[in-house]
Symmetry: C2
Subunit: 342 residues, 2 copies
């Protein structure tokens, strides 16, 4: 958890391969490093994607020049990630502009474009720009008056601590709210659109993202507010269809819920306990927003419907690959342990 | 905010009248005390209800014996509240028993009845028993294996601090979760029913309750899980129809979101800041769950549909009072200021 954000996890893993190769550049060491890194974050599918790119590049390279090739490929992944995020911003911007034009028709529609986001999918989660926040930054830079409702994002408070800080650094007006508040703001017409990132997207457009994303998508649906998900195509797991049934959800440490760190009035960082001692805690880290609740996916290749057809329209190579792709044999639920009864 | 919970607020206000009458038992003092107390909590409609009961009792009583009459009436309100909550529990119990029988048909249905609740609607919020928790306690006492998912309930953490403590005192198994987690648990079949309290219920069955209740009702609806709301009839505001449009939502202090109090490892209570300094905060305290998302209302008079017909079936005196009741002139939105643009 030192590194977070699906794109940044992928790029960091690529440099992890470089570090491993400094010690030992053999095929065995390369394979072992890949396995170790893969196991670190089960949800982030572009961790696997980045490691696969590294393997493709390095496998045919002789050991003696592998390290140099690894650093070059990792740097290229960095550049690609920044370009990808920038492209996501460019493709998302027209959606923001349209929502800004339409906001006047909403009850409560204000002078600014009110965007709600959950968790942190900005430049702290990527090499630059971010995914969900890329169109926010572009809109702001181009003079669209944008204001962001920032979900606190319990239990790790990525919204309150990271997104709020990041938006302030960029000068984008924003307001932090408890995760509970978004539905009420949407009911009252105080949100024009929602946009989040994705840690893993199924081939049918279901979105696995930070816990609580699903609740906001439901509220947006109920108030007829667009709910966009911004993602690099590398977060698509083409082997998965039904995200709710097939994606295993990481259960994290109870202390994320039972304890919280903040600044005391003296300026010290203090960790305090906020539950009665010994209270049982459950802490699922992600949830799945079914494609039917997602208005559009915003990718570096353009905007599409959250559906198998939509995604294949953006990635034509996937159009007729279903029968050949060995991953696609595994479309049955593979992780039934995550759906066990109490 | 020293006293919370709609029923307890009403009873406490009744004793507030007693205290005022100790100083001055005149008609003027009675009226002034009533106005002061009414202004303390705009959402809790049974604050007004309790004060109206006090006024009815005390108005015809001569000043010399008013104080005694006030204490007697306040004590009677206490007894009535406990009896009301107990009756809510008795009426809710069969719903729990039915859900326990049906849980085996759910994917993931476990050995216990999994109940999700939001905020605190237990005996800490009432004179005894609670509203939403009354059937939980009765079910537990009668041997139904019940387990409660306790929403943390940011920003004031009434679930994490009050409900968790209260359930532990009673010996009811429970697990605290971040408010974000409930939707995911419902998707995975790990919740058999939801039950919450209500601060204010419209004559058409819309429920104004702690911020975030609406999001859980949406998730329950999406996963076809019963969403019950437990309430004394005194929380029904017969003057209101459309809760989303008509109920003004209290905006509370930003410090509820930006700061949090917990126990340090040394056992001291410490308040820490969890937002970047100067971050803007919005803090709506309640939201409205439309009647269409509420499976049933559970009251001391029985269980009914969340609708005008349902409520009037339980309270026949209201059946033909619409034309006479002076309050019912005010069915237009009266609080447009709460829906202003940013």
């Amino acid at each position: 958890m030192r590194v977070r954000g699906a794109p940044l996890i992928g790029v960091t893993a690529a440099y992890g391969i470089c570090l491993a190769l400094r010690r030992d550049a053999s095929d065995e060491a390369l394979a072992a490093a890949r396995e170790t890194l893969l196991a670190t974050r089960p949800t982030a599918v572009n961790l696997r994607w980045a490691l696969d790119r590294m393997r493709e590049t390095l496998a045919p390279v002789p050991e003696s020049s592998r390290l140099e090739a690894a650093y070059a490929r990792a740097a290229a992944l960095c550049d690609e990630d920044a370009a990808t995020c920038r492209a996501i911003g460019e493709h998302g911007l027209p959606l923001f502009e349209r929502a800004f034009e339409q906001r006047a028709e909403r009850p409560g529609g204000g002078e600014v474009l009110n965007v709600l986001t959950h968790c942190n999918a900005g430049w702290l989660a990527t090499v630059d720009w971010g995914t969900a926040l890329a169109p926010v930054y572009l809109a702001h830079d181009r003079g669209l008056p944008v204001h962001v409702w920032v979900d606190e994002t319990r239990p790790r408070n990525q919204g309150a601590s990271l997104t709020a800080w990041e938006l302030r650094e960029h000068g984008v007006p924003h307001t932090v709210i408890a995760d509970n508040a978004g539905g009420q703001l949407m009911q009252q017409g105080r949100v024009d659109l929602c946009i989040t990132g994705s840690d893993r997207t199924t081939a049918h457009g279901d979105v696995c993202n930070k816990i609580g994303t699903y609740l906001k998508a439901l509220a947006a649906w109920d108030s007829r507010i667009p709910f966009y998900v911004a993602l690099p195509i590398s977060t698509v797991d083409w082997t998965l269809k039904d995200g709710v049934r097939e994606i295993p959800i990481e259960e994290r440490d109870a202390r994320e819920v039972s304890r919280i760190t903040g600044r005391s009035d003296e300026g010290a960082m203090v960790e305090v306990s906020i539950l009665p001692d010994g209270t049982a805690v459950a802490n699922p880290a992600f949830d799945v927003t079914p494609a039917r609740l997602v208005t559009r996916l915003v990718t570096e290749r353009g905007v599409c419907e959250a559906s198998a057809e939509g995604l294949r329209g953006l990635v034509p190579a996937r159009r007729d690959s279903e029968s050949q792709d060995p991953h696609l044999r595994h479309t049955e639920p593979r992780h039934s342990e995550s759906r066990d009864p109490e």
